[in-house]
Amino acid sequence: MKREPGNKIEHALHELTAMDELAAGSSFVHSLNPGAKLAAAVLYILAVLSFHKYDLSGIIPMVIWPVLLFTLAGIPVRTCFYKLRIVLPLVMAVGLFNPFFDHTPMFRLGGFIVTGGVISMITLMLKGVFCLMSSFLLAATTPIDSICAALRKIHVPEMLVTLLLLTYRYVGVLTSELAVMTDAYHLRAPGQKGIHISAWGSFLGQLLLRSMDRAQSLYESMLLRGYDGRFHYAIRTKFAERDAVYLAVSAAFFLLVRYGNAAELVGRLFVR
């Protein structure tokens, strides 16, 4: 069955998964060893998550790393935000309730007292956005099969890696099923915005069943073409000196921003 991605949801999700066009680039970042890129992304996420919830000023410089790499990879940062536009609000929504619970006054800004809740909300939102950016960076500069091959190399169990690969492909399958079903629904419920809440249950059930069937045949079709959990076809790149340098510089930067509070260092120089 062939469909043009004309449906709005499908279009947005499709763009998100159709990352391979970006990943096929040839910049310095693209050519780095997938394992090194994966490791750097994981370190970055760990560093970001480790900031204290009130440490807004500390976490802000972390933005430099993904922005710099996007630039080096020749991918505009706005592409990242554009492609992530349907996921971003979800991630940002996480901290939304903090201001209602945490009223600890932090500092005065003009006539307003800024509470701890507001600070922690912004910090949490930034954490989410930064993690998304670094994951996107990895996915946009490394083919999924190379990421999987790198994971296998560091002995992540085959089951998990196959699962990751299938999930990645499955998102595409899920969205096309979703699109077909929303189209079918709207043809029979003209003029209705969204899907009426009374139909949600059966709608979701159907969606799950249909996409499970599709995922099953997708997996079978991989098996029939010799897929055995090893990634023979992923292009292998050796871990070279520059990969080590890249990893070391990245890690050093994370440590510096996380522990060697840059602003504080400069401040101390002048006070003493």
Partner: protein, 239 residues
Amino acid sequence: MIEFKNVSFEYENGKPVVQELSFQIEKGESVGLIGANGAGKSTVMKLLLGLVSGDGEILIDGMPMSRNNLADIRKKLGFVLQDSDDQMFMPTVYEDLIFGPVNYGMSREEADRKADEVLTKLNLTDLKHRHNHKLSGGEKKMAAIAVILAMEPETVLMDEPTASLDPYNRRIVINTIKDLKQTKIITSHDLDMIMDTCSRVILLSNGRIAADGPAEEILRDKALLEANHLELPLGIAKR
């Protein structure tokens, strides 16, 4: 050679889908597996590929199918799925073309050469670097056939290859199938296509063989076809 000996199969719900099926297909034959919707055609293919297993015995080149030789058996069989979207799971046509060969131990260079060879043979060189999700239905079907041929199978299985194609693309697919030298097993209810591409027909009805013989005979047997919810191919009805 492919041999089914008293093969039976049912899905979990217990309704028999394939019942006591026995037949032999010799090397080089082209066989049309026909029958109404739900007759069990796709299930027979799945049994043959070892994707599901039932009672009875399936032999490929004399080897009884088992867990241990499944990989070897699958290597001999190229399966063109009914839905090309499930078949083409890599980003580009080229990557899909080399996926199978490389998994089966070809070097990247060899696989590259093989991909080019197949694309040239099928007149598809334009498709090589196209993205799968941007192909039309007809292009995708042809690309799926190319992907299977790149694995150099001894037998090509096709599940409803002309379903949902327009007349122009259907004709291209039919001509391609006609040119294939491999053993062919093709399921369909597009009997005109079967007429054009197969010399033998096995007619399935409720998971049993209702008829097995030369295409010329079975596809002309109006009473038999109608009893099985099929119609004479247009090409014959018009004469």
